[in-house]
């Protein structure tokens, strides 16, 4: 029998396997696409679930961390005795380093009018250790809270802080709403 040189058995097997591989790769793609919403995802901290454990300062792949403290001025009480600024039992309510909770003096206290003070965060100094957040949440309004800063975040495929976050507060959020800043963002009840 004359051999068909242009299309032999091996070629046939090869092309049928290839066709089934195309179909399976396409099938996986189609199944994955079915769930897709066409949005991109970034990581963000839900401030209402964060328990200020301090791992954000140490676990981020960036050093210093891409997590910074953010001040929601809207809900700040502008207190003189700020629970986020002063260590408990501070000797004097002034800007002396021995009275400050922040290890890097990233929280700047500014007098506004009697008896109110504004607290601003110097992001270049902030390391995301959440010490001030803990103080503010425990004794104040909780206006100081942690957020992932997207100009610093590398948007790792899996956030290395999220992996060890004890309260599972770090979540994927749609990239068109990349922040959960208190005041504009309120606690979700459908959890």
């Amino acid at each position: 029998m004359k051999k068909n040189k242009r299309f032999n058995r091996r070629d046939f097997i090869q092309s049928s396997i290839r066709a089934s591989l195309v179909v399976s790769v396409g099938g996986i793609g189609g199944l994955a696409l079915k769930n897709s919403t066409g949005r991109d995802w970034v990581w963000q901290i839900d401030p209402f679930e964060c328990n200020q454990c301090g791992r954000c300062a140490t676990e981020c792949v960036r050093n210093p961390s891409a997590v910074k403290c953010v001040h929601a001025y809207d809900i700040c009480g502008y207190c003189d005795l700020c629970g986020g600024y002063f260590i408990p039992g501070a000797v004097k309510l002034d800007t002396g380093a021995e009275n400050q909770l922040c290890p890097t003096a990233a929280l700047i206290r500014k007098f506004i009018e009697e008896p109110y003070f504004e607290y601003e965060i110097d992001e270049d100094l902030c390391i995301g250790c959440a010490k001030c957040v803990k103080g503010c949440t425990s004794f104040g309004n909780g206006s100081l809270h942690l957020q992932i800063r997207h100009d610093l975040c590398r948007n790792c495929n899996e956030c290395s802080i999220a992996r060890v976050c004890p309260s599972k507060a770090i979540k994927r959020v749609p990239s068109d709403t990349p922040y959960m800043i208190k005041g504009s963002f309120t606690k979700t009840t459908d959890t």
């Binding site: 090869q14 092309s15 290839r18 591989l21 195309v22 790769v25 996986i28 793609g29 199944l31 994955a32 696409l33 769930n35 897709s36 919403t37 066409g38 949005r39 991109d40 995802w41 328990n51 454990c53 301090g54 791992r55 792949v61 960036r62 050093n63 953010v70 001040h71 001025y73 809207d74 809900i75 700040c76 009480g77 502008y78 207190c79 506004i112 009018e113 109110y116 504004e118 601003e120 104040g140 309004n141 800063r149 997207h150 100009d151 975040c153 590398r154 948007n155 790792c156 495929n157 899996e158 290395s160 992996r163 004890p166 309260s167 599972k168 990239s175 990349p178 922040y179 800043i181 606690k187």
Partner: protein
């Protein structure tokens, strides 16, 4: 109490709770000096359009690499393309997003309906596979930053014995299986966590990443592309696709003159030698061995599945819930340890130990069933690899091994036949 009263009471309760939530410990002051309240800044993440541009760049680089490898036969083109890839996907995009890690996104999106994969990640997963199905592993040659950094640092490649290559070739399969299992159970993304080069791309990384990266690069000076050949889980998929590719890079543009120059040019031992003309035709032992090895495949699958599913207790400990529940059960005294962050967070979350244990059990069950799939899959690959060792295929020329060849084009450069 009647139903209506209950509803009314419930409504009042909800209103009260909302009022309480809106109230703050210290009300916002009313300023008299005209103080303007600043608002927190929100630097935007990378836009969606720029992400799509990455997909276009990948498509362009893949197409160019394919063109260089298959049509223009230009090693120089592939070399410069890999330099571009290293700069763009490596140092500019900092190694994230990459096709290797995208395996996990796909696995998670298939197992967890709540996770929506981004189009970019999906495209990064699919495009190189489709290209490999038609043109071979041109992705490895020019479009993978991890491959590029290793390829550029090959100094004195040594040839590894086949037994070592074949047995070490099982590692990526195990790695792929584990990565899919861990991603699908929502445990963690191990490929990204142990990515050796991402720290170098970022020039900033935790200690273990730097050590891994430098170790791989040093090893790679002699054992060329060690990550690609003996660890890369995506390489496993590309290897299969490439075996059945429609077209593939060829060493010679026309007839092979059997000068053997190409074999010493290939740093990856990926060139198959021609079979000896004088070799006797396969006899009875050959067929007997072939049948025995094929019959052994189901055994390998069962053994692999059994071992992997039995080791679920160890594997599932990587999951936070399982780890925490085991810690609490075996060391209940740790509840009083204020320094154990995980336990303290769990205690303050208001979750009971029973629900945690229940969650952990669900995860363990997933690991148990997933273990069967993973182990079976690894067993299948071991079985087929062994079978491939006894299959006799006749080759007339020196040919690239379609599975192992990265299409880097060194051999075409060395081939003295030019047209």
């Amino acid at each position: 109490m009647s139903k209506r009263v209950k509803i009314v009471l419930f409504g009042i309760l909800i209103i009260l709770v909302q009022v309480a939530a809106a109230q703050q410990r210290f009300p916002k002051p009313e300023f008299e000096t005209g103080y303007v309240q600043p608002s927190p800044t929100t630097p935007e993440p990378r836009g969606l359009a720029v992400e799509y541009m990455d997909v276009l760049v990948l498509l362009a680089v893949l197409s160019l690499a394919t063109w260089f490898a298959l049509r223009s036969r230009s090693r120089r083109g592939i070399l410069w393309l890999s330099v571009f890839t290293l700069i763009y996907f490596g140092f500019y995009r900092k190694g994230c997003i990459c096709s290797i890690g995208a395996i996990q996104n796909v696995a998670l999106s298939l197992s967890d309906a709540a996770y929506n994969i981004s189009i970019t990640a999906l495209a990064f997963f699919l495009l190189p596979l489709l290209y490999a199905l038609f043109f071979g592993r041109t992705f490895c040659a020019g479009a993978c930053p991890l491959g590029a950094i290793q390829d550029l640092l090959i100094i004195h490649p040594i040839s590894l014995p086949p037994w070592l290559r074949k047995s070490a070739g099982i590692i990526p399969v195990v790695y792929l299986g584990l990565a899919i299992l861990f991603a699908a159970t929502g445990t963690e993304f191990i490929i990204c966590r142990y990515d050796p080069f991402v720290g170098i791309f970022r020039l900033d990384a935790p200690y273990h990443m730097v050590v891994l990266g430098v170790a791989f690069l040093l090893l790679g000076m002699f054992v060329s592309r060690p990550y690609c050949r003996f660890f890369c889980p995506y390489g496993v998929l590309l290897n299969w696709m490439s075996r059945f590719s429609k077209w593939h890079l060829s060493i010679t543009p026309s007839d092979c003159i059997k000068c053997k120059l190409c074999t010493s040019s290939c740093p990856f031992d990926a060139i198959d030698h021609p079979t000896e003309e004088s070799a006797p035709p396969p006899g009875r032992t050959y067929y007997r061995r072939f049948i025995l090895y094929s019959l052994l495949i189901p055994v390998w699958v069962l053994v692999g599945g059994f071992i992997a599913s039995k080791s679920y207790t160890y594997l599932s400990r990587a999951h936070q819930d399982v780890y925490l529940s085991e810690l609490l059960i075996h060391h209940p005294e740790l509840v009083n340890d204020p320094d154990n962050l995980d336990i303290q967070a769990f205690l303050s979350s208001g979750k009971t130990l029973d629900t945690l244990v229940e969650d952990a059990r669900v995860v363990q069950q997933k690991f148990r069933t997933g273990g069967w799939f993973m182990g079976g899959f690894i067993g299948l690959v071991i079985g087929i690899t062994l079978l491939n060792q006894v299959v006799f295929r006749k080759r007339k020329d020196y040919q690239p091994n379609r599975g192992d060849c990265f299409s880097c084009g060194r051999c075409m450069d060395y081939c003295p036949v030019k047209n």
